[in-house]
Amino acid sequence: MMAETAQAPKNVKFVITRQDDPQSSSYTEEFDLPYRPGMNVISALMEIQRNPVNAKGDNTVPVCWDSNCLEEVCGACSMVINGKPRQACAALIDNLEQPVRIEPMKTFPVVRDLVIDRSRMFNALKRVKAWIPIDGTYDLGPGPRMPEKKRQWAYELSKCMTCGVCLEACPNVNAKTDFIGPAAISQVRLFNAHPTGEMNAEERLEALMDDGGIDGCGNSQNCVAACPKGIPLTTSIAEINKQTTKHMFKRWLGV
């Protein structure tokens, strides 16, 4: 305890990639912030918001960022921290090498500073119909039961928070391709595994056999390594490869 009080106040250095609007080019700005025990990247950004002064001592515009749940379940605060795409709320300063380099996930359109537009991910979920249609004009009654064993692994897939880290990590998601990315493919596996969702399995498979679908995967397997929720994305992709291949032959042979 005595050693702690005797310590001089530490500073933490940040190098943040900033961008004023979607069209302008990016630049970096450095910040020196007082260290506080247990601080993370979000609390550091809040400190800049409170006192927007950069490392040179000049007044600056506070850094914009996106965040919501602050417990790594919403996916809103994804950014590239020291080269790795991850959630800022779960990035503890104590575990990071300094200076802490923070960049937006440029696979997505940058709105401002660290704020990105993840619309393409939500559009992808719509494209593959990542839901279970149960609405009708009359009561459809109870659906089929889901085996407990299946529910357990399907639950893991349901942890996806559409954070975009897997798309940022994928070398095949870029301006030259229209690859849908790993997240939506894994959701197709989830909804195709559900006993009621299974009834519309072919619609989802056909969406992934369309342009920008599953054929965009190049098996770099970065997605499964980068996923903050530990979702077995490459198993999902391979499983959907299997389902689409089967569907292709079924359609050809008219089974």
Binding site: A169, D211, D215, C217, G218, S220, N222, A225, A238
Partner: protein, 221 residues
């Protein structure tokens, strides 16, 4: 829908027939190790005595090779490697698959021009191919190029087989993908070694010929 089928065909052609031809080529070359110059010539002559050999070549080699090569260049162009950020074994293989594909493409264009195309032009007879190879691999620069190309092509074949198994939904879980990784790595080593041993054998003086056509070709190369 078009992208799905063209990518599936690309993946299939890489294994059948191109992977098959690659292994056949390896065995034919190895006959030079087993049977010397005459053994190699016998193998080449036997292969070219197959019925409908023109069509076997056209549909088993030329057209698949053209499609796989050109579409493969497009796939390589579409990728944005990020090894600097993700130094992972699988990401290395992803990047190397594209690099070795481009190396192999360039090599094959040159190799086909130098050997098979010269046979078509009538500059070289099938019996003289061993001598032609001898002239090539006794030049250090060309030998180096051949060694690089062999390693690249063998890697591209073995790793391509690994990703073929995933793309067609055969190896799904992490364990099967790990096992197939080990098998494909073993295949890469075996194929590379067999091609390299054959290559070195072609340096043997028994492959030397005095055919005038070959001499003129040598100066041309």
């Amino acid at each position: 829908m078009r992208g799905f089928y063209s990518r599936k065909i690309h993946s299939l052609l890489g294994v059948i027939p191109l992977g098959g031809f690659f292994l056949e080529h390896m065995l034919t070359n190895f006959s030079a190790v087993e049977g010397g110059a005459s053994g190699f010539t016998d193998s080449v002559l036997w292969l070219n005595s197959l019925p409908l050999v023109f069509f076997l070549e056209l549909f088993g080699i030329w057209l698949p090779l053209l499609y796989h090569g050109v579409y493969g260049l497009y796939i390589a162009y579409q990728s944005k490697p990020n090894l600097n950020r993700f130094k992972l074994e699988r990401n290395w293989r992803y990047t190397l698959q594209r690099v070795t594909g481009v190396i192999t493409f360039i090599f094959i264009v040159w190799h086909v021009f130098e050997t098979r195309f010269q046979v078509t032009l009538g500059n070289v007879k099938h019996e003289e191919l061993g001598g032609l190879m001898h002239n090539i691999v006794t030049q250090p620069l060309l030998l180096t190029f051949y060694i690089i190309a062999i390693v690249a092509a063998s890697f591209h074949f073995a790793n391509g087989l690994w990703s073929f198994l995933i793309s067609w939904g055969i190896t799904v879980g992490p364990r099967s993908q790990r096992v197939s990784s080990v098998i494909c790595l073993g295949l890469f080593v075996i194929v590379t070694v067999m091609f390299l041993v054959s290559l070195v054998t072609f340096r043997d003086s028994e492959f030397q010929t005095t055919a005038t056509a070959l001499q003129s070709l040598k100066t041309f190369i």
